[in-house]
Amino acid sequence: MTDERRDIDDHSGIETTGHSWDGIKELNNPLPRWWLYIWYATIAWAIVYMIFMPALPALPGLGTNTTGLRNHSDRDLVAVAVADLKAARVDQSATLLEASLEEIETDRNLQQFALAMGESLFGDNCATCHGAGGRGAVGYPSLADDVWLWDGTLDGIEFTLRHGIRHDGDDETRFSIMPAFGRDGLLNAAEVGALSQHVLMLAGREADVEEAKIGAGLFSIHCATCHGDMGQGDRTQGAPNLTDTEWLYGDSEGEIYATIYNARNSHMPAWQDRLDDASIKALAVYVHTLGGGE
């Protein structure tokens, strides 16, 4: 492009593109320089990026993507980040691993660490069922009181955490099965009704005395093996005490009837495959201190 060919618009004094349509010409306003240079810079940056970072999906004959000079991998980075986190915890975790649960609970520093760790673990993994602070819900035991279905000692809590309750994939899981007396036809509706009255009586509640008498006979045949002659429960089988005021599935006559009719066999997953040993110990101490540890 030489100066002779330049065509300047008379009116604005700006160069035109040289095209003419029916005598109408187009001004040639170039892109601002700053904009253009930034654009060139991004092109240069793209080339630098392709050299240093994984960029090309795969070239023919090359099975995999280019890895770039920096050999960057998100999956490596997260592995390193998680390893760093574990390493940062390892000093305290190591002492948790060495110490017995009782030592953790009595040593102030260890306890503080275990409780902080336990609280955050509990929030994500346990509170979904057992509620914030272990307050429980219908069907999900409160961990903040001193009523325990299986075992409220430190070791007992740790065992439950590790192996779960009625968890399919664990041979050592805490296990017992309450039969569905009504649904499976072991008792008829009238008998389940009489049993409900007897259970109400055991709990010291108002009940139909005549019905309860019939229920008492049925109780000694069908229920006493697990719940005990007096309905005092049996921790080795996770059979709840029926004489107290704590009712996991509700204490109304209808709810007790439903419990006997359909049975209640709740389930807790085993956590030893999901959580590491230090986490389980911290959780055991945390749960133990929620209010009712033995």
Binding site: P57, A58, G63, T64, R75, D76, A81, G139, S266, P269
Partner: protein, 256 residues
């Protein structure tokens, strides 16, 4: 710059211009698509992946129908905090039988990619019936009606065939026995008894390892197969298939 001054030729011939535009525009497309034709590692090779059982597939359809994906993603990203909370980051292979996949970044509720087995099936049922009874601060709507809706699975064989059409390796036996497999997985002690062995054998063979098919009454009502059965069966297996003990993150073809 002689070539640059010849653009007048292109601008004056519309056919040439059209061809020129097509060539330029397709460069981007070719660069994106061509490698997929000859690359052999777009999806990691992992052990344990199998197609969904018919009941899980029906549950997945309910998951999509109810729009669970609007609030829940199924993708654990390779970030420290996510791996700490949810478990191993998701692999492409884990979604290879998902049509459509359930990835996402919009999380009103937690990620569900690895929720399988984290809580009990009873909890899933109770929570779906009334989320706030268990998690008072939850904003999730209740799905109690799933308990009352019988699962419709008349067309389940065709549903499986459709999946096979887009690349899910269902075998002829799996398709032929699909109805029986639903009975077996939701009612293994009674109506599904005859199909128990074939369900376990066929899907474990596809997975290449044992213990990947769970059979039980899912919703606490053994008399009926409800939509709750299907949805909970699906939820309880999400993210549990891949055998991570054999997964080599360091392998060059697994780098991302």
């Amino acid at each position: 710059m002689g070539l640059m001054n010849n653009h007048g030729i292109l601008e004056r011939h519309s056919i040439l211009l059209t061809i020129g535009i097509l060539v330029v525009v397709s460069i981007g497309g070719i660069i994106q698509m061509a490698p997929l034709m000859y690359m052999d590692n777009t999806i990691e090779k992992v052990d344990g992946m199998r197609p969904y059982t018919p009941l899980e597939l029906a549950g997945r359809d309910i998951y999509i129908r109810e729009g669970c994906y609007v609030c829940h993603s199924q993708m654990v990203r390779p970030l420290r905090d996510e791996v700490e909370r949810y478990g191993h980051y998701s692999l492409a292979a884990e979604s290879m039988y998902d049509h459509p996949f359930q990835w996402g970044s919009k999380r009103t509720g937690p990620d569900l990619a690895r929720v399988g087995g984290k809580y009990s099936a009873e909890w899933q049922v109770d929570h779906l019936i009334d989320p706030r009874a268990l998690v008072p601060e939850s904003v999730m709507p209740p799905y109690a009606f799933l308990m009352d809706k019988k699962l419709k699975y008349d067309g389940i064989e065709d549903r499986l065939r459709t999946e096979r059409l887009v690349g899910v390796p269902y075998t002829d036996e799996m398709i032929a026995n699909a109805k029986g497999h639903i009975l077996a997985q939701a009612d293994p002690d009674n109506r599904g008894f005859d199909y128990y062995d074939s369900l376990v054998a066929e899907y474990e063979a596809a997975a290449g390892r044992e213990g990947t098919v769970e059979l039980r009454d899912w919703d606490g009502n053994p008399n009926e197969i409800t939509e709750m059965d299907a949805l909970v069966a699906y939820l309880q297996m999400t993210g549990t298939l891949v055998d991570f003990t054999t997964y080599e993150a360091d392998d060059l073809s697994n780098r991302r």
